[in-house]
């Protein structure tokens, strides 16, 4: 089971992984490459990872979620490589008998991803510049920030 892919994410595939007759609520989260008010002409983000560690961490993270929400079914996939603006870099699906568990489990997974999954991103800008994104979500190119 691999949590990483270099291909566009398929929501249908994530949904198929979690679907069950016993589940009445499914929450899906998609993180997409943004070029909004806080950005500055982002055309794509280049995602890289410590791949072996990502696989291990995702395995633990999903196991942890399964302990906390035993009736939930969870699927997650992170895309690596150059992802154009508007496309998804991560997809999470959580299905559960009731909606509260589905929302909570899905939210838990994305928060944990942000905290501990070793993935990095470099924004590629319209003007040709490339900027590493810092964990607060804003890019930094100044070494003093590191």
């Amino acid at each position: 089971m691999t949590y990483l892919t270099r291909d566009p994410l398929s929501i249908d595939q994530l949904l198929a992984q979690v679907s069950s007759r016993a589940c009445g609520g499914t929450c899906v989260f998609l993180g997409t490459v943004r070029d909004g008010a806080e950005e500055d002409g982002v055309t794509a983000i280049e995602y890289s990872a410590y791949e072996e560690m990502v696989e291990a961490e995702f395995g633990q993270l999903v196991a942890h979620a399964a302990e906390r929400w035993p009736d939930a079914r969870i699927a997650v996939r992170h895309r690596l490589g150059t992802i154009p603006t508007g496309e998804a870099s991560i997809g999470i699906a959580a299905a559960a008998p009731h909606r509260a568990e589905a929302f909570d489990a899905c939210r838990f997974v994305i928060e944990e991803v942000k905290r501990r999954i070793p993935v990095w991103k470099k924004e590629l800008r319209l003007d040709g510049t490339e900027v590493w994104v810092d964990p607060s979500g804003r890019p930094t190119s100044k070494p003093s920030h590191v």
Binding site: S48, Y50, V113, R116, W120, V133, P135, V146
Partner: protein
């Protein structure tokens, strides 16, 4: 009698890999050694690695690790820039 030494595989990612111009290096340290010892060795001896922080986020054998954690021969030590996944 010489001190025991350990060889560890050090891996660099993202901005750190750019700074040092490579993704991995083999480092020898005298035992007992900690992650900090590996960091110090790399920062002083590897060109470009001085820009890696003195106390980077680190992982040993795929698990986040404190800097005072012990390293053994054959371990994989990774220096991780601030995590920005999702």
């Amino acid at each position: 009698m010489g001190a025991m030494s350990a060889t560890v595989r050090v891996r660099f990612f993202a901005r750190y890999a750019e700074l040092v111009g490579r993704t991995e290096v083999q480092v020898s340290v005298e035992l007992p050694a900690t992650v900090s010892d590996v960091v110090r060795r790399v920062r002083t001896e590897l060109p470009g690695a001085g820009a890696i922080p003195e106390r980077p986020l680190a992982a040993v054998n795929l698990k986040q690790s404190k800097l005072d954690a012990r390293v053994e021969d054959g371990d994989e030590v990774a220096f991780l820039p601030p995590i920005a996944g999702g």
